[in-house]
C-alpha cells in the first residue's frame, strides 16, 4: 500500500526550533510561578495592608516603602520577572501568526530590545524613588 509522508523527519532547524519552543514554555512557566508569589506580595503590600484612601500609598508612604532593602530587592526582582514573562507571552502570541524565520528573528530582537528598555526605565524609576527616601 502506498503511503504519504505526513510528518517528515525533522530537519536540524526544525528540531532546534522545537527545542527553543520547549525552553520558551519552561521559561514562561517558571517566571509565571515566580510571578504568583511576587505579584501576590506586591499587591498585598501595596494595596491591601495600607491604611489609605483607595488602597493607594501616599507619596511619603511610597518612599518609606521603597526605602526598605528587602522591599527594594523584591520589587527589583518582580520588575525583572514580570518583564521577561510579558515579553515571552507577547512572543508566543506573535509566533502564533506563523512568521517567516527572518520575521521571527526580528520579533526576538525587537522584544529583547523592548524588554531591556522596559527594565532600564523601571530600574531608573525604582532607583530615583529609593534615592529620595
Amino acid at each position: 500500500m502506498a503511503t504519504i509522508e505526513t510528518r517528515p523527519e525533522g530537519s536540524r532547524k526544525a528540531r532546534a526550533r522545537s527545542a527553543a519552543a520547549g525552553r520558551s514554555w519552561i521559561a514562561t512557566t517558571l517566571t509565571g510561578v515566580a510571578l504568583l508569589i511576587l505579584l501576590g506580595v506586591h499587591m498585598v503590600a501595596n494595596h491591601f495592608v495600607v491604611e489609605s484612601v483607595g488602597g493607594l500609598r501616599s507619596y511619603r508612604q511610597v518612599l518609606d516603602y521603597i526605602r526598605h532593602p528587602v522591599i527594594l530587592a523584591t520589587e527589583s526582582v518582580f520588575l525583572l520577572v514580570v518583564t521577561v514573562h510579558a515579553m515571552l507571552g507577547v512572543r508566543g502570541v506573535m509566533l502564533d501568526l506563523d512568521p517567516s524565520p527572518r520575521a521571527r528573528r526580528w520579533i526576538d530582537a525587537g522584544l529583547i530590545a523592548f524588554g531591556v528598555l522596559t527594565l532600564a526605565y523601571g530600574y531608573f524609576l525604582i532607583g530615583t524613588l529609593a534615592s529620595r527616601a
Binding site: A2, T3, G32, V53, G55, D96, L125
Partner: protein, 144 residues
C-alpha cells in the same frame, strides 16, 4: 502502477496550507466560538495576557507621576479613588486572577502532573478565583 492515497494530488498543489484534523489553527485562538472549554480557556488566557501587558506599561506610566513629586501623585490619587477608576481595578483583578489561575492549570496539565484533570482544575480554580474576586471587590469598595 502504485495506487496514490486520497488527497495526494491536493498535497502537491502550490498555495496556502489548508489545516485539517485535530486541534485548531495556531492563529485561530482569537475566535473561540464553537470550541470546547480548553479552546475558550486558551483564548481567554491570551486576551487577559495582552491586557496585562498593556496594564504593565500603563502602570509604569502612572508610577512616573511619582517623579513629579508629592503634588502630582496626590492629584492622581484623587482621580484613582473615583468609582470609575475603582471599577477598572476590579476588572484588573479579574484579569490577574484568570491569567494566574489558568496559568497554574496550564502548568499542571502541560507538565503532566495532572494531565487528565484539566476540566476539573478549570472549574475548581474558577471557584477559587471567584471567591478571591469577591473578596478583592469588597476590599476595593470598602477602601473608598
Amino acid at each position: 502502477m502504485s495506487e496514490r492515497p486520497p488527497g495526494a494530488d491536493a498535497r502537491e498543489e502550490r498555495g496556502p496550507v489548508l489545516r485539517k484534523g485535530v486541534g485548531i489553527p495556531a492563529s485561530g485562538w482569537i475566535d473561540p466560538r464553537g470550541r470546547a472549554l480548553g479552546g475558550f480557556a486558551f483564548s481567554a488566557n491570551r486576551v487577559t495576557g495582552l491586557g496585562l501587558v498593556f496594564y504593565l506599561y500603563l502602570h509604569l506610566g502612572v508610577l512616573s507621576l511619582l517623579l513629579g513629586g508629592e503634588r502630582s501623585w496626590n492629584d492622581f490619587i484623587r482621580l484613582a479613588t473615583s468609582w470609575a477608576f475603582l471599577s477598572l481595578d476590579v476588572l484588573l483583578i479579574l484579569g490577574i486572577l484568570y491569567h494566574g489561575l489558568n496559568g497554574i492549570r496550564v502548568a499542571l496539565v502541560g507538565s503532566g502532573i495532572v494531565a487528565d484533570r484539566q476540566r476539573a482544575l478549570w472549574w475548581s480554580l474558577g471557584a477559587v478565583g471567584t471567591i478571591a474576586l469577591i473578596a478583592a471587590t469588597l476590599h476595593i469598595i470598602g477602601s473608598r
